[in-house]
């Protein structure tokens, strides 16, 4: 709220919103007043405290304020929301990058369906102010004015009005809350659907070939139908709430009139009563959004809670110079920290690359990620003191490194001059391919390159990295044996002054290292 006041744009939007809401009520109220007063004046020409030109002027001003205020509120409010969005999304991105879940295996948002939900969460938070805070504030101001007028003119109507309004509003809030809960459930169902469809889509060949495609799809889309039905119920609840709220204004107007009748006000005395009644009628428009306001606020809360899961746990730490690491009896773990039953001992120092050789599933990659500070060390203090220092000191060359949409230059993540970039690309035998796609600055995408080429881009990134500890996960994956050996020998030669650890299941590649550490089989059966 205070934040809202500090931002000039939001302040303007807020003022405009309040102004336009008040003018809407004033416009109708003054018009009715004018009409009634004119009638009275025509019936009995007496000196009155009003002049027609002043009222005409007031009506015109109110009309223009209403139009201008609404337009300003909307355009300035949206501009402010969009502006917030830029900062907010950049912040979310940085937060996500610092979150543990990114580094610890099974990066979920890599999947498009999760990303969709993530973006809608971000949107719910982004627009909460516009959809909930602004309308709520203008409603509060107008509501206050109308109530003050009611208290001044027909105080005895206040009790029935309060009862009616609180019943209607609390009913609407209950319905809106239900709608928000249902929307959340629909979102969960959609997430299930997205997950399942993602898997079924990825395995469509095997489903078709195995004859189970129709059954699996039927089950998968069942979740989508269910989500749709739940979502529809939520919208119906909101509709219901809006239907009740739409009746609040007119019913209040009727009550005020009835109170006026009971109090025996007629003729000139009836004029203020009618004025208040008409004001309630005009304010009705402002009551209807209460349900949606509440709903938007709930959505915003939900979005924020979902985004909190990505809160950064990253701490800044200084990088270490080329480290000497002595690993003694380190237990092998799977990505979840479960022991895989082996222990390992080796030393890492600059100029003497270490190869970790072992079969799939023996915990090689996990060890590498633990060493890089990506997964918890779980075996006493980290050899580099803390995980954060390890992250700042190491470059982890992932076997499944991705390609960002953008140029090759952008994908190398380096500010080095072209000469160095090309030298690195040359070492991994990518120069002809780069020429083919149109040079360093031509747009490339994930599917422009083959898996082998992507692995080599990742090797080039490692070559260009300024980090002192370089960790390679399966540097020869997706490359044929001879090419892998040739390229990786060059990479090791160029990184001669750095500390290097790499994991592989290829003995020929391991033989390039100064030390080979055999990690044994996860299946010690003969």
């Amino acid at each position: 709220m205070t934040e809202l006041m500090r931002d000039r744009r939001w302040l303007i939007a807020l003022c405009a919103a309040v102004l336009s809401a008040v003018s809407a009520v004033v416009l109708v109220g003054v018009s009715a007043w004018f009409l009634g007063a004119a009638m009275l004046a025509a019936a009995a020409p007496i000196a009155t405290a009003w002049s027609p030109p002043a009222l005409v002027f007031a009506i015109r001003i109110a009309a223009f304020l209403r139009i201008g205020g609404k337009y300003t509120e909307r355009s300035v409010g949206h501009a402010a929301a969009l502006n917030d969005q830029v900062a907010h999304r950049q912040h979310v991105f940085t937060q996500m990058a610092g979150a543990r879940s990114v580094r610890v295996g099974g990066w979920q948002l890599a999947r498009a369906d999760r990303l969709q939900h993530f973006i809608s969460d971000v949107e719910a938070v982004d627009f909460e102010r516009l959809r909930a805070v602004l309308p709520l504030l203008s409603l509060a101001v107008v509501g206050f004015l109308v109530v003050v007028a009611t208290v001044a003119i027909t105080p005895s109507a206040l009790f029935p009005l309060t009862v009616l309004a609180s019943v209607a509003v609390s009913g609407a809030v209950v319905l809106a809350r239900r709608a928000a809960r249902q929307t959340e459930r629909a979102a969960d169902l959609r997430q299930i659907f997205g997950e399942r469809l993602g898997l079924a889509h990825g395995g469509m060949v095997s489903l078709q070939a195995g004859g189970t495609r129709r059954r699996v799809m039927r089950e998968t889309f069942g979740a989508a139908s269910q989500a749709e039905a739940v979502h529809r119920t939520a919208r119906l609840s909101l509709h219901l709430a809006e239907g009740f709220l739409a009746a609040v204004g007119p019913v209040c107007a009727l009550i005020i009139m009835a109170v006026g009748v009971f109090e025996g006000r007629g003729g000139a005395e009836a004029l203020p009563v009618i004025l208040v009644a008409v004001c309630w009628l005009a304010a009705a428009e402002l009551f209807v959004p209460i349900a949606r306001i509440h709903f938007a606020a709930a959505e915003g809360r939900r979005g924020r809670a979902a985004l909190d899961a990505f809160a950064s746990t990253d701490e800044k730490a200084p990088a270490q110079p080329a480290p000497h690491l002595a690993l003694r009896d380190v237990p092998l773990l799977d990505p979840l920290g479960k022991s895989l039953g082996g222990r390992i001992t080796f030393d890492v120092c600059p100029g003497a690359p270490v190869a970790l050789l072992g079969p799939s599933g023996c915990g090689k990659t996990s060890l590498l990620k633990r060493l890089a500070g990506w997964q918890e060390w779980r075996a006493g203090p980290h050899p580099l003191k803390r995980e954060a220092i390890a992250r700042a000191t190491s470059h982890l060359s992932l076997h499944d490194a991705a390609i960002l949409a953008g140029s090759m230059r952008h994908n190398l993540f380096s500010d080095a001059p072209d000469k160095d970039l090309l030298a690195a690309l040359d070492a991994v035998e990518l120069v002809p391919r780069v020429v083919e796609v149109g040079g360093l600055d031509a747009e490339i995408r994930q599917d422009t390159l083959s898996l082998g080429e992507m692995r080599r881009v990742a090797l080039a990134r490692a070559l260009l990295s300024s980090k002192e500890l370089i960790l390679f996960d399966e540097p020869g994956e997706h490359l044929d044996t001879e090419q892998a050996q040739k390229i990786f020998a060059r990479v090791l030669e160029r990184c001669a002054d750095k500390s290097i650890v790499f994991v592989t299941h290829d003995e020929a590649l391991a033989s390039l290292a100064a030390h080979v550490v055999c990690m044994g089989s996860a299946d010690p059966s003969p």
């Binding site: 139009i67 609404k70 369906d113 979502h231 009835a258 470059h395």
Partner: protein, 545 residues
């Protein structure tokens, strides 16, 4: 006689086909529209109309009561009670209408989900897999609702916009016709203004949509690559690039919104000015200084009724304008859904070969294949260098991808598929491997892996994301072998495995091949050596890139 009848038919069909694209883009989905949807939609419309009429009645009675009160008359309470009753009636009718409308939309949304299910379950694998999973998910989340509103609530809002305005105007004309003329004369002007602004908005909205797509794609791309970005310590760099994209989008979006809001401002302006003009003219008319013709001698009750009803003329139009955004969304969704209805083939297009064989087959992706004769049981290995179409041939034989020409056998006695990227998980090992789960794990060289320590009780999560590629592959092979399928297809069954693991898979396949037909695509020399039949493909240029 016959030829003439046919001759007469042809031009008619030609006429229809020429007309079709322009006249009815929504044909396939519209054909799905069951009479139930139409009936419910009409009921909703009747409800909305009733609600409007009752609301008008309530407002008129309210104005009448106010008029009587101002002139000091008595007997107002019956009027107020009547207004209250009409108002409750209006609320009830609108809620009933909302319910009908929701039901109609639900039926329509189910239809759309059904179309997507049909596409995902029955369209050719290449076509269905061609649409990225993320897009498919997004479509299934958005299109049912968008199509449902395009088919139900938007047409209803359209009807109500004209009907509502007309009905209210008629009532006002009955009360005081010069006011109706004032309001009526504002309508064409307003509609023209709305059309102009709408056109401008549309152009801007397209640009915004484009920027949004670009932004979402970039954002998605960055999030997808987060581990890579982290490993290269490039977070700050990417955040700045994201900022640039976001600012571009913000500027585009702000442009659109400025125009879009003008649209509702036009409505607001007419509503506010209409009320102001009427109020002023009526009051001055009562005072005996009329500024507009016909307002001299207007009564108070008349004036109040007109004033209260005036904003109701614009209300349905305003509601319709709110649908503006949804309208284009719905249209896009309907257009996107239609081709999917046609993408689902009605029958299996394969012409079965007589034996266990492939004859003269040509694939649109990999080109022509040599004729192959397969044994009834045994291990068949398709070999060849990378990119020669091994996997494609395997898919052709499995009936996953259709051949453009030629004949492909249809596997008898059921078939199964094993590959590292296969669909697996969502079960306990026992569900797939049966009681002998531990033996099967041993055969796959996974018995002492702590991840399968629970044997048959081990739960494999859907997608088996916690397992490594090699483990997934072995599990997939194991599941295929444990099934009763007579023909088993394996795509690179020994890739991603160390020597020990690969040898156990080779032994297993060889053993199973004594009773069943095992067809594998592989570049594993040891597996090729163990094959009963080798289908060696030669290197070829890729046809499609």
């Amino acid at each position: 006689m016959r030829p003439t009848a046919r001759m007469r038919h042809i031009p008619r069909m030609m006429r229809r086909s020429r007309k079709k694209p322009a006249q009815n883009k929504l044909a396939p989905l519209a054909a799905h529209l069951t009479p139930i949807i139409q009936r419910l939609r009409r009921l909703a419309l009747v409800g909305q109309g009733t609600a409007l009429a009752l609301r008008l009645v309530a407002l008129i009675v309210f104005a009448k009561a106010a008029g009587i009160m101002l002139t000091g008359g008595a007997g107002i309470l019956p009027y107020l009670s009547f207004a209250l009753v009409s108002l409750s009636g209006a609320v009830t009718a609108s809620l009933i209408a909302a319910r009908f409308s929701s039901q109609a939309e639900q039926v329509a949304a189910r239809e759309v989900i059904g179309i997507y299910e049909g596409f995902a379950a029955r369209a050719p694998v290449a076509t269905a897999a061609d649409m990225p999973a993320g897009e498919l998910v997004m479509r299934v989340e958005r299109h049912p609702e968008a199509c449902a509103s395009a088919l139900v609530s938007i047409p209803n809002a359209k009807t109500m916009a004209s009907l509502g305005a007309l009905l209210t105007l008629t009532v006002i004309a009955c009360v005081h016709w010069p006011s109706a003329i004032v309001l009526l004369s504002s309508l064409p002007l307003m509609i023209v203004a709305m059309i102009i602004v709408g056109k401008l908005t549309k152009r801007q909205a397209d640009r915004q949509e484009e920027a949004l797509h670009k932004l979402s794609a970039r954002f998605a791309d960055k999030v997808r690559c987060l581990p890579t970005i982290l490993s290269a310590d490039a977070v700050a760099r990417e955040r700045d690039r994201l900022g640039d994209d976001l600012r571009t989008y913000r500027d585009r979006a702000a442009d659109v919104l400025r125009f879009a809001f003008m649209n509702s401002t036009v409505l607001d302006a007419f509503q506010a000015i209409g009320i102001a003009v009427l109020a002023i003219s009526t009051a001055l008319g009562i005072l005996g200084q009329p500024t507009l013709v016909g307002f001299a001698g207007i009564g108070l009750t008349q004036g109040l009724i007109v004033l209260v009803l005036a904003s109701e003329v614009y209300a349905p139009l305003r509601k319709y304008a709110e649908f503006y955004h949804k309208m284009s969304e719905g249209k896009t969704a309907l257009e996107a859904v239609d081709p999917l209805v046609e993408a689902v083939p009605s029958h299996d297009a394969r012409i079965p070969a007589e034996h266990f064989a492939l004859r003269g087959a040509v694939s649109s992706i990999a080109g022509p294949y040599p004729d192959i004769t397969l044994p009834k049981v045994g291990l068949v290995v398709i070999s060849g260098p990378s990119g020669c179409g091994k996997t494609c041939l395997l898919r052709l034989l499995a009936g996953v991808e259709p051949a453009d020409y030629g004949q492909v056998f249809r596997a008898a006695g059921g078939q199964a598929w094993a590959a590292a990227d296969g669909y697996l998980g969502g079960y306990r090992l026992r569900d797939v491997f049966g009681r002998s789960a531990r033996d099967r794990l041993a055969a796959l060289a996974m018995q002492s892996d702590p991840r399968f320590a629970d044997g048959g009780d081990t739960r494999i999560g859907l997608g088996a994301v916690a397992l490594s590629g090699g483990q997934r592959l072995r599990l997939s092979v194991g599941a295929a072998l444990a099934s009763r399928a007579q023909t088993i297809f394996c795509d690179e069954p020994t890739a991603k495995l160390d020597d020990f693991g690969a040898q156990s898979i080779r032994d297993l396949l060889k053993e199973v091949a004594q009773e069943r037909l095992v067809i594998a695509a592989s570049h594993d020399r040891a597996l090729i050596a163990a094959a009963d039949v080798e289908v060696a493909l030669e290197h070829r240029e890729r046809i499609a890139t």
